[in-house]
């Protein structure tokens, strides 16, 4: 079993009203140093890498379901797991 983390975020050009609101809240706490906040989704997926090639599986899952390419993009990290 291998744990994989998938991060889905808005593409650069897409306005992120949640991120904007959170940024304003951070500013109101006095943290003027914060330039930008982006909100995204985070998935922790446990995969049996013996059943399928890991990267292929992650790509398929992300691109078919987890990501809407009109708005979003993604990246992933493969964490260590039991062999």
């Amino acid at each position: 079993m291998v744990d994989v983390r998938i991060f889905v975020t808005y593409k650069e050009s897409v306005f992120d009203p949640q991120g904007e609101t959170i940024k304003n809240a951070i500013h109101s706490l006095g943290h003027d140093e914060v330039e930008n906040v982006k909100v995204g989704k985070f998935f922790e997926v446990t995969i049996d890498s013996e059943k399928k090639d890991l990267e292929t599986a992650v790509k398929e899952i992300s691109e078919e379901l987890l990501v809407n390419f009109n708005l979003e993009t993604y990246r992933f990290e493969i964490l260590g797991g039991e062999a």
Partner: protein
């Protein structure tokens, strides 16, 4: 003309569409489960509002994988009428039957109110009974209705006259180009965030949505006659 109203797990405006068609317009309409794999015998299919699969992940993202979807795509390809309102619109974009996507409202809040719309294309089978540039009022009720598409797609939509309804006066959710509803290039697939099915009876205070269903029924019957 026989119309299907698809019921996904979590659909909740299915009854509203059904009643608008059956009770108000006396149309031949039937509920169809998302589990069914064909729409044989139907001339039009309607995707209702609601929270299919709880709107988990993204609105409409999971409904797209239900059994019924290939049959809906087939109807769209055959030029039959496909209509989605609210969650139905979100499903149509997720399924790729309409371009773009629906984002969370700029206000970050669900909003239920009546808004003013401009009919920008009355050449579709859904809008033929409206005047071009006519202003109508329809209710909206959504948290994710902000239409987004990249510049190229937007240009194409405008060039092809695919924007059918635009928010007039006030843009309630941050939609680009004030888009409230769009159709595909062929004009037989319409998706819109406002709820015409909520505006078909005087007792509920608004009948501006009625002509959308009447247009559809009239054009459906015309097609049958010319077949």
């Amino acid at each position: 003309m026989k119309i299907a109203v698809v019921v996904f797990p979590g659909s909740n405006c299915d009854i509203d569409l059904y009643e608008a068609l059956a009770t108000v317009c006396h149309a031949d309409v039937e509920y169809v489960s998302h589990k069914r794999d064909n729409l044989d015998g139907f001339d039009a299919v309607m995707l209702p509002g609601g929270f299919s699969y709880g709107d988990y992940l993204r609105c409409g993202a999971i409904a797209r994988f239900t059994n019924i979807m290939p049959a809906i795509v087939k109807m769209a390809n055959e030029g039959k009428f496909v209509f989605g309102t609210c969650n139905g619109f979100q499903i149509l974009t997720e399924a790729g039957l309409l371009p773009g996507a629906l984002k969370q409202n700029d206000s970050l809040k669900f909003v239920c109110k009546t808004v003013e719309l401009e009919v920008v294309n009355n050449k579709t089978p859904f809008t033929s009974q409206y005047g071009l540039h006519e202003h109508i009022k329809l209710p909206i009720a959504h948290a994710d209705g902000s239409y987004y598409a990249d510049e190229a797609t937007l240009e194409q939509l405008e060039a092809n006259n695919q924007v059918v309804f635009r928010y007039a006066k006030e843009n309630p959710n941050g939609s680009l180009h004030d888009i409230a509803g769009i159709c595909n290039e062929r004009g037989n697939v319409l998706g819109m965030m406002p709820h015409p099915e909520r505006a078909v009876e005087a007792i509920l205070g608004n009948t501006d949505g009625l002509r959308l269903f009447k247009s559809l029924l009239e054009n459906g019957i015309k097609t049958e006659v010319t077949k």
